[in-house]
Subunit: 410 residues, 2 copies
């Protein structure tokens, strides 16, 4: 049977049931908390692995904690999946939907009598969010040889390292050992909720990702002088928090001034942090993203200048420590075209979108494994219990993913 003969039929009811079943793990009826390498994430792997095993896949967990379920024999595999971890008080769709739709795609292909010419691996990368150890895209980073040095020693808020968390799962604490041999992966397909309003506004269920934004992460430290709030005249102050506030508004104004750029200050801490003490120091996080490399660079340059200028005006010392700087990642053109064709075959004229969030697909693409992403319309943002994706849209996504997998592997 050739790919053209395969007519996979996805089952929305089955998919919806699995979404609910998975959401119960780490869920409290409202939010879902399944941190990376936690017992909840492991329970999610067990549940999904069980479904895939029942479909005839050979299911394993690699040295980094990734779930890999293989259909077929030797040779380079076509990978499809996403992640099963969530942020603290997150939702049921971010990551999970990509894994469940990959399961649904595999099941519908099997039900349609497809045979895999090339091996297919359904994957669930561990700890994509980085909510626990501060290291996003961890599992795919391990698999694609893109972990930063010393990753295994990153620790969570309780002092547990990634290595220790892996050992608690029964692994050896060596995530680097999960690296896929060269040539083991032929392609990587990832379905994900959009997490943004564009598909909803356009009234379309699916979109195809052209590029993943470049992401610049830094920590800005502002140092002034702590003083008594009652006895220090306004003109004698070097208030680090007031300076940070001025910097923060400059960051917002600069991002607003450029199309396709977003900048966020999500963390801010004040020292000494007492109501009757003028702040002596403040630190804040900086997250700048753009789909256009030049716009990203220009915005970062202007933010640095604004931080310096505010510091000079207010007699404050400031430093910008770059934590990470990921370039804009264009995804594979041939696989994008494949998703477009598959969507069209399901009756969807999928728009081309830039992804504002980082995704595991970045690690594949940057490691030389052709990757593509399919976005499914969602509402309520993401990283929150409000995130939502209609099962009908999800099923449509699973059908497109099944078609694409069929083209590549059957």
């Amino acid at each position: 049977m050739s790919a053209a003969d395969v007519r996979p039929v996805v089952d929305p009811a089955r998919l919806g049931k699995r979404i609910a079943e998975l959401a119960a793990i780490g869920g409290n009826g409202r939010a879902v908390t399944r941190l990376g390498l936690s017992v909840e994430e492991q329970a999610a792997r067990d549940l999904v692995g069980g479904w895939l095993g029942a479909l005839g896949a050979s299911v394993r967990r690699d040295a980094a904690g990734n779930l890999i379920a293989r259909f077929g024999g030797d040779g380079p595999a076509v990978l499809a999946g996403s992640h099963l971890d969530s942020v603290l008080d997150g939702g049921r769709f971010d990551g999970a939907l990509g894994v469940l739709c990959a399961v649904e795609a595999a099941e519908s292909l099997r039900a349609a009598g497809a045979r895999f010419r090339r091996p297919v691996e359904i994957v669930a990368w561990a700890d994509e969010e980085g909510a626990r150890f501060g290291l996003g895209l961890y599992g795919s980073g391990a698999a694609f040889g893109r972990l930063p040095a010393g990753a295994a020693e990153r620790r969570d808020a309780l002092g547990v390292s990634i290595a220790e968390a892996l050992r608690a799962l029964g692994e050896r604490g060596e995530p680097e050992a999960a690296r896929l041999p060269a040539g083991a992966a032929a392609a990587y397909l990832e379905l994900h909720i959009e997490q943004g309003p564009r598909l909803e506004r356009a009234g379309v269920a699916l979109g195809v990702v052209s590029d993943i934004v470049g992401i610049f992460h830094a920590r800005v430290t502002v140092e002034g002088r702590a003083d008594h709030a009652g006895t220090t005249a306004m003109d004698a102050r070097r208030d680090a928090l007031a300076g940070a506030a001025a910097m923060l508004l400059a960051v917002e104004a600069l991002a607003r001034s450029r199309e396709g750029v977003v900048a966020t200050v999500g963390e801010l801490a004040v020292r000494p942090g007492a109501k009757n003490v003028v702040p002596g120091a403040a630190t804040f996080s900086l997250d700048v993203r753009a789909g256009d490399a030049a716009a990203l660079e220009a915005t970062i340059r202007e933010i640095r200048a604004a931080v310096r200028r505010v510091g000079d005006e207010r007699g404050l010392r400031s430093t910008v420590d770059v934590l990470s700087s990921v370039p804009v990642t264009p995804l594979d053109q041939a696989l994008r075209d494949l998703f477009m064709r598959a969507a069209a075959a399901e009756g969807v004229a999928a728009p081309v979108l830039v992804s504002g969030a980082g995704h595991d697909a970045m690690n594949a693409q940057l490691a030389g494994v052709p990757a593509a992403m399919l976005f499914v319309r969602s509402t309520g943002g993401s990283h929150t219990p409000r995130e939502h994706c209609d099962t009908a849209d999800a099923a449509l996504g699973a059908a497109v993913l099944a078609r694409a997998l069929g083209e590549l592997a059957c």
Copy 2:
């Protein structure tokens, strides 16, 4: 022997030695940490109480943890003192100097052969700073019947209540029982470092306080919507932290626009507080002070309007919860005149100052006990290890305090 015959001679070396000895309690060679109702504060009371006992005072600790050392018999007493607690990583002079100078004043009066016509009580009020339980002026509040309701149940960061801390000291956990009977206190004199730059700039060692500023404390809560930092366009955000930053700069500008007004945002917290999440909520503290009641009221009104305006502009909900609002407290004119005369007798033309900080003297004055304060020149602000007062200036302050005590009690 009448007051006019008494010639108290303070001993700067003895005073300097006691400053150093007291600073060792809770001190680390640099900063001093003696939180209210802690073992360190108790050790400080024991040290000072020992000195006063050796001078013949009858030394006790009251139900709130205040140290009271009485010279003389029955009848309304003249009180002099300050506090022995400090903030976290504070200095050796704020509070402590007022107690030590009162000890020095009593000792110099005794050495000069003074007899107390009226009883004199040297006092060290417990937990003036409020750094531990968030309740400033606690000990004097208990003594002068001005504790807020439920004060005993205020808890520190470890969950220990004031009542429990008192019981750990051997008291009954009922700070209200420390309330002085009506008529027990005839007057209250307090020496304190200035904590500000005015005496230093004027080149004068001492100043007399006319008024203690009114202090308005509030907590501002700003609620927006948490969103994904990568997928939420700038114009679709309701960023609570950006709104708080705009409010904070408005607070600063409003305080700068009025002479004699200071406003401080010393605490700020962000939720959820992740670098890749647009802040959904922010709360910050507000501390507004002025020596002029009308200026204070106008500034508070304008800050409230600015908070509302920023919230409306940005689609954020905001609330201002008033935590406390202490009016401007004019101190006793006759006692102020007494301090002026005593300073003049020591050769100092003391300027009249408004105190930008709250002090225990407020509780006495507001409870109907005439109170006055003498400020001693200091540098480096306060609530920091940098705070400094020359021993020569402190000794001059002790001499003026001794003269004033002699006038009132001998």
